[in-house]
């Protein structure tokens, strides 16, 4: 590093890149919205961004699709300003630790358990999601887990716990532990029928379809993909399968005002209208149901009649 010419050259290069970057950067504050892979795979995330831009032409917003685990970590670091996530337990921790504020539940749909048409584990006869997982474990039927700390994965782990089992079918011993890095990998105990894809909602469903396996997914993703999946919904309607999406503003948002504007819009009448309309034209059914603040959660779960506020 001794040569001054080298140093000057490096400085020139770096400032050149910085200039280039700056010239591309938009002038008004850009708000970054972190959505989940499930909302991205269905196309909702893009629809929301387009509609927000139409309502607020002077605002800049950019959406990234990441698992809820990464979304929360990005929010903690202040790399994203607004989060649209579906991992309630992790969200509460996040807000409690002071990383975010103004958590507002904004919409919901439900998780469904997909499985092969012939349903080798007899899941259709199970009353609850926990019973269904217990049946899958008992039969050693193939099951594809997201395994990526996403909202869907968080829910799957919770359902295993409700069944009194560890993910993969071993009986729970003692209090639940915080999953550690590569913990999934303690492969000694995890039997072959339990597969972790470590990928998004759609990719995991493809793998399950190929392996004739069971998988937990959200109804919107299933609706979008059902023509190419050789899987059916084998269990639905358990209240434990409610899939609740919330908006959170990061405490370290770079542009708190702009972030609050986006978060406010998402939970406003306009935002909820986009959510309610989404998917109607293409699939003839709701993919997500907007939620009215203060309204109690709707039961039974969607899939049938629209809730009162639709």
């Amino acid at each position: 590093m001794g040569s001054p010419r080298l140093a000057a050259g490096l400085a020139g290069l770096v400032s050149g890149i910085a200039l280039l970057g700056a010239s591309c950067a938009p002038q008004p504050a850009t708000v970054v919205l972190a959505g989940t892979t499930s909302t991205h795979d269905t196309g909702l995330l893009d629809s929301l961004v387009v509609a927000f831009r139409a309502d607020h032409p002077q605002s800049r917003v950019r959406a990234v699709a990441v698992g809820s685990g990464e979304a929360l970590e990005l929010g903690r670091r202040g790399d994203v300003d607004v989060l649209l996530v579906h991992a309630p337990a992790a969200e509460f921790q996040f807000v409690e630790a002071g990383h975010g504020q103004d958590r507002v539940p904004v919409m919901y749909n439900d998780f469904v358990l997909l499985g092969p048409v012939d349903d080798p584990a007899g899941v259709r006869a199970a009353g609850t999601a926990a019973d269904a997982l217990a049946a899958i474990a008992r039969h050693g039927a193939p099951f594809v887990s997201r395994g990526d700390s996403s909202g869907t994965h968080e829910r799957e782990v919770a359902l295993w716990a409700a069944a009194g089992l560890e993910p993969g079918g071993r009986p729970l011993e003692g209090p639940a532990r915080e999953p550690a890095v590569g913990e999934a990998a303690e492969s000694e105990g995890v039997p072959g029928w339990y597969m972790e894809s470590g990928q998004g909602q759609a990719e995991s469903a493809f793998i399950a379809s190929d392996r004739r396996a069971y998988a937990l997914t959200d109804r919107a993703t299933y609706t979008v993909l059902k023509d190419i999946l050789e899987l059916e919904v084998v269990l639905e309607g358990d209240p434990a399968l409610l899939n609740l999406y919330s908006v959170i503003v990061s405490s370290r948002a770079a542009h708190p005002e702009a972030a609050a504007r986006l978060a406010g819009w998402l939970t406003s009448e306009a935002g909820r209208a986009v959510i309610a309309r989404f998917g109607q034209a293409q699939f003839g059914e709701h993919l997500y149901w907007p939620l009215v603040v203060g309204e109690s959660l709707p039961f039974p779960l969607p899939g049938g009649s629209p809730p009162p506020s639709g």
Binding site: V66, G67, G69, E70, A71, L72, E73, L74, G147, D148, S149, S150, V181, G182, A184, A185, E186, S187, V190, M195, E196, S197, G198, Q199, E203, F206, I207, D210, R211
Partner: protein
């Protein structure tokens, strides 16, 4: 914690997960490299050493192979081996076999293009002299290639570098399934998605260390082939 310390920690902690992923990466990319060498080296050497009509367009075609996006190769292999595809009967989707197939297709053009350039640079009189001294055509060809063995090692190293660091194709055809098809690059993507940035960076450092180790081996191999007499 700094990523290098964390990387060392990952390797030395005896964590089965990390070692399993490292070994699987080497096994898959190594097998793919072997297949890619089988067709890449002969094609590169043949085009580089011979003179024929339309040679330049053919070279341009081989070099264009370098621009093949891994994710497109992955998609093509996916369609090929998926249940409704022409090779669906093999049932190798989401298995290491499919990953090896995809990576061999990616590495092939690298090996062919670099070895082509190397063979192209051999002075033609090497062959003339060898033939004049009574060498068989095959012997003469081997002598020509011996002139550029360092570049041929570089060709193999380029192919290995392209696939050990590749994520698009293995993600699509392998599926990143824990204990079956999860390799270093897909594990890095996963740890990033989990928000474990530190672990992701550490795995990246491990990947570079593995690449360094393999390249040292390749260099040794190159030197060994220099000392070894051509005739047996």
């Amino acid at each position: 914690m700094n990523p290098f310390a964390e990387a060392l920690d990952l390797i030395t902690s005896g964590d089965l997960y990390v070692w399993e992923v490292i070994l699987r990466s080497i096994r898959i990319s190594g097998s793919a490299l072997a297949f890619a060498m089988l067709f890449g080296l002969p094609i590169g050497a043949a085009i580089g050493l011979s003179r024929f009509r339309f040679r330049r367009p053919v070279i341009a075609l081989v070099n264009t192979g370098l621009a093949l996006p891994p994710v497109v190769v992955g998609l093509a292999v996916f369609l090929l081996v998926s249940r409704s595809g022409p090779l669906g009967g093999l049932e190798i989707l989401y298995s290491p076999a499919a990953m090896i197939l995809a990576q061999a297709v990616i590495a092939g053009p690298y090996i062919a293009a670099v070895s082509l350039a190397a063979a192209d640079s051999v002075p033609p009189d090497v062959r003339l002299q060898a033939r004049a001294l009574g060498a068989s055509p095959l012997r003469a060809t081997l002598l020509q290639l011996r002139e550029v063995r360092t570049s041929l090692v570089a060709a193999v190293a380029a192919g290995f570098g392209a696939i050990i660091s590749e994520v698009g194709a293995v993600m699509i055809v392998g599926g990143n399934i824990l204990g079956e098809t999860r390799v270093m690059t897909t594990a890095i993507v996963l740890e990033t998605r989990r928000g474990n940035f530190g672990v992701a960076v550490a795995l990246g450092v491990v990947l570079l260390l593995v690449a360094l180790y393999v390249n040292l081996l390749l260099l040794l191999l190159g030197r060994w082939s220099i000392r070894r007499p051509l005739s047996s």
